[in-house]
């Protein structure tokens, strides 16, 4: 087993915050388990180190209550405070799993493929750096200003900045972890450059690092690297809201298809058009470098399909006078849904109102965004409002459609709880029949998954173990059985069996 992971587990037991922090920054998988099946999160919560628990959660440790490890953490927690912390970090909030966001932002800096970088800097000794305008724009107001005015051209001459300093600075903007390579003699120059462009946190870090010993410095590094990510997320969200959504235009007349958003403050290289259910068309200025995060777009541009050919062509003739920007179409959906997707892709924002959760789920399914699907279905299962507005059986069908097991279990649980009210609903019978027909697909015999799930949740409903039920069967003290709820359980089971008999299903 990974030595670092072992050390991480040890530090989680002892509550050594700094060391946990450091170890996580080395890339240890915080969701792994040791040879006794203990996750770091479980160890920390069992030993009562709240700070470590929070840190682990912030860094992507998953406490999913519907999974064994997650449940174990919560029940193993030493005190209520830790338990509350764990509960508050259900999966919907844990966004840093394997850091796809920061990694993606960093990756676009080094991407040498056909993707567009639309600004280049020439420094002293003719060294060239290229970047994305939208990112610079998002990262600092000063940079945004400059882009709008002095740097309106695509080539910028920056002879007064030292190339090595600019290199670090640019990488920093893209969240590439470079803090450890900065030499003391570069500190002042970097602070100066960052301040000049009004880029926060980096000067802050450098100031502190100047006066720190190596131990503190390494702690600072991981602390700040994390802060940087958070800030970029915020900044990109702002950018999406201000620059992208504000620049989006509604096309009133369908024939007016040649709308170009080229000169909008978002500096787009691609346009994303969406038609909502009322038939209105809206076009968002977007960036392929970011959309690429979704498997769907990535594959679209892997091969030389029309989309890529058009994009590459547009890139090559993107002189000042070219107004053409390739346009992609999202499947029809409400603008709000499209915007949720855009916010998710740009800023990893997972703030999904329950009213749009289903639409987001379906769209994510098309776009092959499994993580977004999980998040959307979590919203569905956690929202109290949702189930009041929707039919549980519809949730079941939705789960089959999108292959999200969480929703399937959720529906089964709901049916188990409300079995008496639902027993006469023809829809339930239809669902059971449909579930039995799915047997052939699963190549399993003798079981109807829905019925099995319901039976399972009936046990849970009365907090019974299968052993308990066996025990109760031999009892004849009615009063006692009534008291423990066995009679009600029997009634529910009989109801379910009656339905099955009625449907002629032998299980």
């Amino acid at each position: 087993m990974d030595l670092n992971f072992e050390e991480l587990c040890y530090s989680c037991r002892t509550g050594d915050m700094d060391n946990v922090d450091r170890l996580i920054s080395t890339g240890v998988n915080v969701n792994s388990v040791d040879k006794f099946d203990n996750s770091p999160l479980f160890l920390a919560s069992l030993c009562g180190h709240e700070g470590v628990v929070k840190l682990l959660l912030q860094r992507g440790a998953v406490c999913d209550r519907d999974r064994y490890e997650g449940a174990r953490c919560i029940y193993g927690a030493l005190n209520d405070s830790i338990r509350d912390t764990l509960l508050s970090y259900d999966i919907s909030k844990a966004v840093d799993v394997k850091q796809p966001f920061a990694t993606h932002i960093s990756s676009i800096y080094n991407d040498e493929s056909f993707l567009n970088k639309d600004i280049s800097f020439t420094l002293a000794n003719d060294q060239q750096f290229t970047a994305h305008k939208f990112l610079l724009c998002a990262r600092s107001k000063v940079l945004a200003e400059k882009l709008a005015n002095e740097w309106a051209e695509n080539n910028v001459l920056l002879t007064e900045v030292r190339p090595d300093i600019f290199d670090i600075f640019l990488k920093f903007l893209y969240l590439i972890p470079i803090l450890h390579v900065i030499q003391p003699e570069q500190y002042d120059q970097l602070i100066k450059l960052s301040s000049e462009f009004n880029v926060e946190l980096l000067p802050d870090f450098l100031d502190k690092a100047k006066h720190s010993n190596p131990m503190e410095k390494s702690r600072l590094m991981s602390e700040y690297q994390y802060k940087f990510t958070e800030v970029v997320r915020k900044q990109l969200l702002q950018f999406v809201n201000h620059c992208i959504f504000n620049s989006a235009i509604d096309v009133v007349d369908d024939r007016q298809q040649t709308t170009s958003l080229r000169d909008c403050p978002a500096y787009p290289d691609i346009q994303l058009s969406v038609r909502n259910r009322s038939g209105n068309l809206r076009i968002y200025p977007c960036h392929l470098a970011v959309l690429n995060r979704a498997e769907y777009f990535k594959r679209m541009f892997t091969n030389n399909f029309k989309e890529k050919v058009t994009y590459v062509k547009a890139k090559h003739i993107s002189g000042k006078h070219n107004n053409v920007i390739p346009q992609l179409t999202l499947p029809d959906c409400e603008f709000e849904v499209a915007e949720i997707i855009i916010r998710y892709l740009y800023a990893d924002s997972t703030n999904i109102p329950w009213t749009y959760a289903v639409d987001v789920l379906l769209l994510a399914d098309i776009l092959l965004e499994d993580r977004l699907k999980t998040i959307a279905s979590t919203i569905i299962t956690q929202s109290k409002d949702f189930i009041q507005q929707h039919n549980a059986l519809d949730v079941l069908y939705l789960s089959w459609e999108t292959r999200v097991e969480r929703l399937e279990l959720f529906a089964a649980k709901f049916i188990a709880i409300h079995l008496q009210e639902l027993s006469n609903d023809p829809e339930l019978k239809r669902a059971i029949v449909l579930s039995s027909e799915r047997i052939s697909l699963r190549q399993e015999t003798d079981t109807i998954e829905l019925v099995d799930d319901i039976r399972y949740y009936l046990l849970r409903k009365y907090s019974f173990d299968p052993d308990d039920v066996e025990l109760f069967e031999t009892q004849d003290d009615l009063e006692y059985l009534k008291q423990v709820g066995y009679l009600e359980y029997r009634r529910d089971m009989e109801t379910l069996d009656n339905i099955l008999t009625e449907l002629g299903l032998e299980v």
């Binding site: 039919n391 519809d394 459609e401 409300h418 829809e427």
Partner: protein, 756 residues
């Protein structure tokens, strides 16, 4: 709570908001046929590599809609049929009949690469179906399905022409002898293809191609070289080249596993099939040239145990050949001289080969040998020399002993070379270990040692060291008597010290060194009869008496007898031309000293004065009066009765002069000759004693044994000392039967019983 639940239940039955999936996101209103046309159109364009007008968005969403409408199975089947159609088209149009090998390969590799790309793009387009339909229904994903179709529709249909073309192309490059990256990279593509495509057993490469490749390689290299037409070295060079080339070639296009398989084939064909015919000559060649690298290379050519054993045997036969080539009995020279030359040459061979083999890495190989050294080279030498010595019988033992004797005598003359001589001696012990007739060595050594000790021909310290070395090599048993001899000498010098300090009667001008020897340990049969009656000059006999007195006081139980024939006397004498120190046997000395009192003496007078028998007197006087180097007496022949007097005109180049014995007293003969008949006899008597003891030991434990069993056991028992001959065994057996140690079985005459 109850209330809340009912409310919820109502809500559910009310079906407030329905979630309707398909219509919302899919492309509604298309029939499957229409959708399929779109997909088909896309596939057409993919296969002609013209996708610029193909919208991924549109095709993807079409597929999404089809799958969502549960038409996945239809789409999958249609896609399969259509892909087969495509592949058929390629198969029929791309391949030409009777195309040259290279072209076939090129076509296949090209087709594979093109189609793989098409498959991948198709797979990308179909990924929604992969995820939603293929995975849950456990059918191959689109890309894998296409690959499988490629296997069944193209590869299998063309496999025989592909395989034969590939093999002949490989053979072509082999015979050209130079790498061609164009070819190898193409092979690599094709083999990659074969490794990718697999049926439910294994990939095509393993099932169909590799076996063919292996047998083709075997065939190719069997024909590639005719080892008989080349000299061993040329053959090796050629094989080395072939092997190297094939290795480079294989590594350029094969995976490590197959490469290893081919290496083995190569080993079998080239090394076993070809080289093994000349391997002995080749090994001898390497040995002759003392070329360590060559030998190592030959040895390393194959990892087969059988091969390595062959080489080791070849090394043995070579060393044996050069060892036997050393002249063993050269009639023209004296035996002693022969012994020295032979031994030193054998020793130098031993050394040279040990050094040479020491630089060869033999790895861990089992050698058929009675002994196992950590160092295989040593095992080899051991085997070779042991066999050689045993074949030559007793002589090597005597020769080596003589050689040691020679070396020992050197030590006295030349201090500077002691270290080198010690080294020679040390190596000699290695050879001594290998002697088959160690008893002969022992007895010869004992005689020679005794002479060296008594005549002080060597350095005592080195003698002691050597005996220790022999002890280390052969065991305590062999050196017991030798050690006693050494001890006697040391003890004597101490007794002398004590005697001198105690003796009141110091005798001027005389230096007396008595040696007290344990009779049983020294190789002398008896004392000389002359010693009983000889009349020594009064000064000498007076001194001997003094010592006898002293000794008998000290060791009352011991009997002291003088052995003059082993002693030496040294007399300093002033001649007209200078002062000389002359060493004599005691008898000659006694005679010479007579001339202190007499001017002239006849032989008869000498005999009367000394009581030495006439014959002996004659030869002693002859040795002093006729040998040119030491003519210290002169003969004045008046009539028949010759008279002798001191020759004052004697002169010699050195101050030290030795009077040799021309034909010494009869008793001298025995100890003076090497391996004479009597020595062998005495040796045989000794060995019979040993065999007797061994047989008694064996029979005592076993009680009853057959003749054959007993012979075997006894032979094994005696192995370390000498080779048991059946005649010795029979003699010993006879003796034991006579003495009633054992008894023949009454019924079965081939059986013996031990009698308690």
């Amino acid at each position: 709570m109850k209330k809340f639940e009912t409310k919820l239940g109502r809500m559910i039955t009310n079906n407030k908001t329905r979630i309707s999936v398909p219509e919302k996101l899919g492309l509604s209103g298309q029939s499957f046929e229409q959708s399929w046309e779109i997909v088909k159109h896309a596939i057409d364009h993919i296969y002609i590599d013209d996708m610029a007008d193909l919208s991924f968005e549109q095709v993807y969403r079409t597929i999404y809609t089809i799958v969502l409408n549960r038409k996945g199975p239809m789409l999958y089947d249609n896609l399969k049929t259509y892909t087969i159609e495509k592949l058929l088209f390629f198969r029929e149009t791309v391949f030409k009949n009777n195309a040259p090998d290279y072209e076939i390969l090129e076509t296949m590799a090209g087709l594979w690469e093109t189609l793989c790309n098409c498959f991948k793009i198709t797979g990308d387009l179909m990924m929604y179906m992969d995820k939603v339909y293929c995975k849950p229904n456990r059918c191959l994903e689109v890309y894998d399905m296409c690959l499988d179709l490629f296997r069944t529709e193209i590869l299998q249909k063309r496999s025989s022409s592909l395989i034969s073309a590939l093999i002949s192309d490989i053979d072509g490059i082999r015979s050209s002898g130079s790498m061609d990256p164009k070819h190898t990279s193409m092979w690599k593509v094709l083999i990659g293809m074969m490794e990718t495509l697999h049926d439910n057993r294994d990939n095509f490469f393993l099932t169909d191609f590799e076996p063919v490749l292996i047998s083709a390689t075997e065939r190719y290299y069997t024909d590639a070289i005719n080892i008989k037409s080349l000299t061993p070295l040329e053959g090796l060079e050629k094989i080395r080249k072939l092997k190297q080339f094939e290795n480079v070639l294989d590594s350029s296009f094969l995976n490590a596993d197959s490469h290893n398989k081919l290496k083995k084939v190569l080993g079998n064909v080239l090394i076993w099939g070809k080289l093994s015919d000349v391997i002995e000559d080749l090994t001898h060649e390497a040995m002759k040239l003392s070329d360590e690298r060559l030998l190592q290379e030959i040895y390393d050519l194959s990892g087969e145990r059988k091969y390595k054993t062959t080489i080791i045997e070849s090394i043995k036969s070579y060393i044996r050949r050069i060892a036997t080539a050393v002249p063993f009995k050269d009639g023209s020279r004296k035996k002693g001289q022969n012994a020295i030359t032979w031994s030193s040459e054998i020793l130098s061979i031993f050394r040279k080969q040990r050094l040479f083999l020491g630089n060869t890495k033999f790895g861990s190989v089992q050698v058929n040998s009675s002994v196992t050294y950590k160092f295989i080279g040593m095992t080899i030498l051991h085997d070779v020399f042991e066999t050689y010595f045993s074949e030559e019988g007793a002589l090597p033992s005597e020769y080596i002993s003589t050689y040691v004797d020679y070396c020992m005598k050197q030590t006295n003359d030349n201090d500077a070379e002691v270290a080198k001589i010690k080294e020679d001696l040390l190596d000699s012990t290695k050879l001594i270990e290998l002697l088959s007739e160690k008893d002969i060595f022992e007895s010869t050594y004992k005689k020679q040692l005794s002479r060296r000790l008594l005549q002080q021909k060597s350095i005592l310290e080195i003698e002691k060291w050597m005996v220790q070395m022999i002890k280390d090599a052969l065991g305590t048993f062999f050196t017991l008597k030798l050690e006693i001899m050494l001890r006697d000498i040391s003890l004597s010098s101490r007794i002398l010290q004590a005697f001198k300090s105690s003796s009141t009667s110091s005798i001027e001008y005389m230096n007396f060194v008595p040696e007290v020897l344990t009779r049983t340990s020294w190789p002398f049969q008896s004392t000389n009869p002359i010693d009983e009656s000889i009349a020594l000059p009064p000064r000498m006999s007076q001194m001997l008496m003094g010592f006898e007195e002293y000794y008998s006081l000290k060791y009352k139980e011991r009997v002291l007898k003088w052995a003059h024939h082993l002693s030496v006397i040294e007399i300093g004498c002033q001649f007209n031309n200078g002062y000389y120190e002359i060493s004599f046997s005691v008898y000659a000395g006694a005679i010479f000293l007579l001339f202190e009192n007499y001017e002239e003496l006849t032989l008869e007078e000498i005999r009367e004065l000394t009581h030495i028998p006439e014959e002996d007197v004659k030869s002693l006087v002859m040795s002093m009066s006729t040998v040119p180097k030491c003519r210290i007496l002169k003969r004045s022949s008046n009539s028949g009765n010759a008279k002798f007097s001191v020759n004052y005109f004697f002169s010699a180049p050195n101050r030290k002069v030795k009077v040799p014995i021309i034909a010494g007293p009869a008793s001298f003969h025995k100890s003076d000759n090497l391996a004479s008949q009597s020595l062998v006899d005495s040796y045989e008597n000794e060995s019979i004693m040993e065999v007797n003891a061994a047989i008694v030991r064996i029979m005592k434990t076993e009680g009853k044994l057959s003749h054959q069993q007993l012979l075997q056991r006894a032979t094994k028992h005696m192995e370390r000392r000498f080779h048991l001959t059946s005649s010795t065994f029979k003699r010993s057996l006879q003796l034991l039967l006579e003495k009633e140690y054992i008894q023949r079985d009454a019924d079965d005459t081939s059986c013996y019983h031990y009698l308690h």
